[in-house]
């Protein structure tokens, strides 16, 4: 592959750092070959979650890092996409048409809501917008869990997927490298390639003229306005596009889990996870989402066992044992989050690239 092809693929936004490039290649290979490098359901689940969170966080980076917009409504769109697939499949039965109808309706709802929130709130100051999105998102979450007949309420809904994607389905009779070639595998690669496509799309977006105007607006809105750009329009577009990508990520998540529920898809915990990842990974870099999501999900799944072991070793000492309890992993994450805002404002990616903090 010649350099120019690689350049085109990444829309000119190369890693610009040996360490970062190596890490990205490693992650890519790891995710691409995950089914064959690992055994069992749990690692595959981790890998699929990583793919989806990469896209979810990258779409949030479009808002926060590139446009300078703080929004707490992002998980709402994630949830809408997920529920679209979920409700479509559960009400119309495990057919492709059911899924498609659900998805299309979800995307339409996403566009409408993103437009409404954008038009209404982007005309006010950033602080207002942040608070309003928080209020809207939490109301939406409450609605979703209360309309239990429709949405399955607090517990959510499980549903069946089309035959091609179901675990029982065999594409090839024999195992390859110890992994059964079944519907789960097919689903995994749909998730993988879907996320890859969405990520490359986002990369192309932020490196296009549109993306550059967004960055100009983030730097100095007044100046951009003076140069003739209708900043409100650009912000609304960024909002809608980010919301759509988040919704698609949600749809993939629902497809993978064969389950939708308010906690996994609409909860404030998801929003805090996104914020933590995007800040620690590196705002305004896109690749920060890749590194950050990978580290975060891996840690979330595997670090907790480490914490549990340490906690049991320290059962004598009162506070320390509690502080290292695996459920308290949020505490350490929170501390890391606060520290990284102070000392690593450009995140892991920034550190790897050797950027000096501009803030």
């Amino acid at each position: 592959m010649s350099i120019s092809v690689v350049n085109r693929l990444f829309s000119g936004d190369l890693p610009r750092s040996r360490a970062l490039g190596a890490a990205l290649v490693l992650i890519f290979l790891g995710l691409a070959l995950a089914p064959f490098l690992t055994a069992g359901a749990r690692p595959l689940n981790t890998a699929a979650t990583i793919c989806i969170y990469i896209v979810l966080v990258a779409s949030y980076d479009l808002l926060l890092g590139y446009s300078g917009i703080v929004s707490f409504a992002h998980t709402m769109f994630f949830g809408i996409g997920a529920y679209g697939i979920g409700l479509g499949l559960s009400s119309a039965g495990p057919t492709w048409s059911g899924a498609l109808v659900g998805l299309v309706l979800a995307l339409l709802l996403t566009i409408v809501l993103a437009l409404i929130v954008g038009l209404f709130a982007l005309r006010v100051r950033a602080i207002f917008y942040a608070m309003i999105t928080l209020a809207v998102a939490s109301s939406f979450a409450v609605l979703a869990s209360q309309l239990s007949d429709f949405t399955g309420g607090e517990d959510g809904k499980t549903f069946s997927v089309p035959e091609l994607l179901s675990p029982g389905f065999r594409l090839i009779e024999n195992d390859i490298a110890g992994r059964a070639i079944d519907g789960k595998l097919v689903t995994y690669y749909i998730v993988f390639f879907g996320c890859l496509a969405l990520f490359l799309f986002l990369l192309r977006l932020v490196n296009s003229p549109f993306g550059r105007v967004l960055q100009a607006i983030r730097e100095n809105e007044f100046r951009a306005e003076a140069l003739g750009y209708r900043t409100v329009l650009y912000r609304i577009w960024a909002n809608v596009l980010a919301a759509l990508v988040a919704a698609l990520a949600g749809a993939l998540m629902a497809l993978w889990l064969r389950y939708v529920g308010p906690k996994t898809m609409l909860g404030f915990e998801v929003m805090t996870d996104i914020l933590l990842i995007v800040v620690i990974g590196g705002m305004g870099t896109m690749y920060g989402a890749v590194i950050g999501a990978t580290l975060f999900i891996l840690a979330q799944n595997y670090l907790k066992t480490l914490m549990a072991d340490s906690a049991s070793a320290l059962t004598g000492i009162p506070f320390l044992a509690e502080a290292l309890h695996p459920d308290r992993w949020m505490l350490w994450l929170g501390v890391l989050f606060v520290l990284s805002i102070y000392f690593f404002p450009t995140g892991i990616v920034g550190k790897l690239r050797g950027n000096r903090a501009q803030h």
């Binding site: 300078g68 602080i127 805090t272 502080a323 505490l331 929170g334 606060v338």
Partner: protein, 351 residues
């Protein structure tokens, strides 16, 4: 000098216009429309609710809840107006205040269970003071350590204060455990006073009284003291206050600590209201607090007061009349107010 002088009026007193141009009395526009919202709402709901006793119960519940939310939010709006700092972690002080109060309430539960109004109120007052002290102290530290380095950078403030709240919440669990802590009401404050057919819960009356006291105290400090004058002026134009020779940044920490102490007080009261404490009670209430200060106008204590009462009353009325709508009534109220006044009911913070 004056080119146009209207003919003198038939009355004996000197016509205003003849004093020369620009001595006309300024329009005495007092912005009273927002002040009428709460009484108008209360009266308007009476026919909808139907029965007067039910209306009384709902109204008192709304007023009590509103007062508590006002106490919790007033600090936040003042801090924003004066310091241009938005503390997304304000809820942490609410939770810490409530939990800190248990340090008094649990050892002294005998006083709580005694059927003596005096003993109950005494231990309650002590708990409130302890809560305010602890959260005031925590607020002082929070401002110096976490917020001061990010003055003027709104994005970082939002992120860092959120991070602070996450850490605070987790620390509460580390110290007090993840289980809910029950907080039963003091004996003499349980139950209700019955007036005719209406039942008014005793604790709610206490909440209303405390709320009014806090509002009165804030009003007096803001309007009758030099510090209050500085705060009100600083909310409008910080730079000019400095240009008049005042080191207003020194006030920041004090105001922040006071705001945190108020949040702690609100937390104690809210804990009793719900009769249970959870580590996440702070973050759960943030949405309501934000809605209230948006409605009231960032920086306005009076607006926050009206906004809190409005929101709580609407929640109670709608919860009774149309429970399904109650889920989104807060949002609808916020949207309604913003469409009428895009910067909130009273917005004097010039930004």
């Amino acid at each position: 000098m004056t080119s146009l002088v209207p003919p003198p009026m038939p009355q004996a007193r000197t016509p205003v216009s003849a004093l020369g141009p620009d001595t006309a009395l300024p329009a005495a526009k007092r912005d009273i429309a927002p002040l009428l919202l709460v009484p108008v709402l209360m009266l308007a709901m009476l026919p909808f609710v139907g029965s007067f006793p039910t209306w009384v119960t709902l109204t008192v519940a709304g007023l009590a809840m509103g007062m508590m939310i006002f106490i919790m939010s007033s600090g936040l709006t003042l801090v924003f107006g004066l310091m241009d700092v938005l503390n997304f972690g304000h809820g942490a002080f609410v939770a810490v205040g409530a939990y800190a109060a248990t340090m008094v309430l649990l050892p002294m539960h005998g006083w709580l269970e005694a059927d003596s109004l005096l003993m109950n109120l005494a231990v309650l007052a002590l708990a409130m003071l302890v809560a305010m002290f602890v959260t005031g102290l925590l607020g002082w530290a929070f401002e110096r350590i976490i917020i001061m380095p990010v003055y003027g950078q709104h994005l970082k403030q939002i992120l860092i204060t959120m991070g602070g709240m996450i850490v605070a919440e987790q620390l509460i669990i580390v110290v007090w455990g993840a289980d809910q802590v029950p907080l039963p009401l003091p004996t003499s404050l349980r139950g209700a006073i019955v007036l005719g057919d209406a039942a008014i819960e005793k604790y709610r009356l206490v909440a209303v009284v405390v709320g009014l006291l806090v509002f009165a105290a804030m009003f007096l400090v803001l309007n009758r003291t030099k510090i209050g004058l500085l705060i009100r002026a600083g909310v409008e134009n910080r730079e000019m206050v400095e240009a008049l020779g005042y080191r207003i940044r020194r006030l920041f920490v004090a105001v922040f600590a006071a705001g945190s102490a108020l949040a702690g007080l609100g937390g104690v009261m809210w804990g009793f209201y719900k009769e249970t404490l959870t580590a996440s009670m702070g973050s759960e209430i943030m949405v309501m607090i934000f809605i209230v200060i948006i409605i009231g106008g960032l920086g306005s204590v009076g607006g926050c007061f009206i906004g809190a009462l409005l929101m709580a009353l609407v929640t109670n009325y709608v919860g009774f009349l149309e429970p399904k709508v109650a889920l989104v009534s807060n949002i609808l109220l916020m949207i309604g107010v913003l469409m009428w006044r895009p910067a909130g009911l009273f917005s004097n913070a010039r930004r």
